[in-house]
Amino acid sequence: MIDEIREAAIRPIAKPGKWWGVLFAFLGLFVLAALATYVYQLKNGLGVTALKDGVFYGFYMTDLVTFIGISYGGAVVSAILRLTNAAWRAPITRLAEGMAVVSLILGAAFAIVDMGKLPHLWWVLVTPNPQSPVIWDIVAISTYVVATLIFFFLPLIPDSAILLNGSAHKFSSWRKKLYSMVSLKWKGVPAQRKTLARMMSLMAVLIIPLAISVHSVLAWVFAVTSREGWHSSIFGPYFVVGALFSGVAAVILVVSAFRKAYHLEKFIGQKQFRYMGLLMLVLGATYLYFTFAEFLTEGYVQYVNTVPFLRSLLAADYAPIFWPFVIFGLIIPILLVAIPKTRNVKGVTIAAALVVAGMWVKRFLIIVPPLRHGLFGITNPSYMGNWVEWVITLGAVAAIPFFLMLMFRLFPVLPIYEMQEIAEEQSQLQSKAGDAPSLKTE
């Protein structure tokens, strides 16, 4: 079993398959197009986008919230499952943590993209206003990036040592140097195992409140303004639940794609999809409840400034986007997981894809309609982004699988050390159970 784990984990590094290069190049084209478009935007300023004085947040802010939300699922789910010692988590933790790192860095990059020309970023950093949630956001996101990188790095230490010493594959010299540096002379002695286990537990505990703080602060960027549709006391927990919901869905999607591409079916089976699906179902139901609670209270009071925004969302210009989100992004995914017949790899993956797309739309609906139906009863021009924003957004979407493919050309797709440990624990438990007197009676 242990040999099989090693072979499967190292396979994408050694022999990634004939389609790897084609897919990597295809995704790379999108990433390159996005980079070129960003350079064009840098040169000409934010005026090349559809953002204006009225609707001043659009696709980039939607992308920022979505990508950071997605990263949430990877980090927090992995942390919670580690702390609860759920053995089934092991094969998916590397993918979840890798996705967290990639999507978080991309999400944080959108803060810079949204600022337009780079001097804006410089002035935010050198003249910070501690009363502005934007500066809290920078502090929270940068802390979370560091924490996620450490959380990803720690399990790589023993795995790099395994690649260096325990693999039959001949690596090039730069790879050997890289693995030697990351492995920190790991030999698997009890003192090292103890240090690693202690630090992993500490990081798992730390990353949960950090992740909650990031999405709460992100929510407060909107909620501490006096704008209708943003100024809401439930935005903190609403954003946290939304991030977990979309994050779990993204983990399912990534796990499903890499499982198929790298033939990991033996290690990642129905069980992982069923459990992750159920987690997504609970979070989806909670998100549906929050959405209902938000609109019920706002709609019941019909405060004069809220009515134009609510009408546009529920019954006017944004209704053709809002109701499909409710049906396809919330209700259908919940039903797909709730019905036992569709609670399988295919059904859960389809549900997850709908959730990821739906939650992008929901973030757009949180950000844009309150800006369109702005303060003082003013209605600003409609906003749906322009080619610059679409290209950069699509490029960022393609960048997630692009960088994950690259990441798993360098490091094992499965956490070898962790899976070995669990396999050893389970075999010890089985042998102990075999030694113990049987309680069964004929």
Binding site: Q131, A147, I157, Q192, L196, N380
Partner: protein, 190 residues
Amino acid sequence: MKLNFKGLLVSVVMVLLLGLWFFAGSLPVAAAQAKSDLTLTYEIQTDRQGNESLVLLAKLKRADGYPLSEREILYFETTDLYGSARVSIGSATTSAVGVAALKYETRQPGEHQFTVLYGGDETTEFAVTNATLGLQNLPAMTELSPPVGMEKISYWSMLGVGAVVLVIWSLLAGVFFGTIVGIRRGSKGQ
């Protein structure tokens, strides 16, 4: 017994006419609405403490000159703040002499475009008036008082948040460097 059809018919018609007369009183009747007239002026008023303020005075009367009291007047200003738009600036109720007064603060002297609106009721028609007023000799604006105690809360909360951030970064550094040192030491001490 022979039925007196003529008497019966007369009785039925009488009852129907009586019923019609009785219920007709409760039927809605389209009342004739009097035309109303709305004008807007402004003046600088001084209160007992000697504070001056600019007041927009909307006078509402019937076409025959009778002042309309207890009517709500809505005030709007056409502004170019975020593109040209008519922005609500408040409302006031007419007094016994038909005058509604809205205190209005602005730093900008010169021409301002206002719209005042009376929605009408069952006896009087609605009225709307656009007026361009050249505002001169503007009184000083009321100083905004700072939120009570918030500056202290803000100061201490910033310090608190800063301390928490420092603790978190120290913990992260501790985990990172602690792992490196611990694992390297473990490899030497085996």
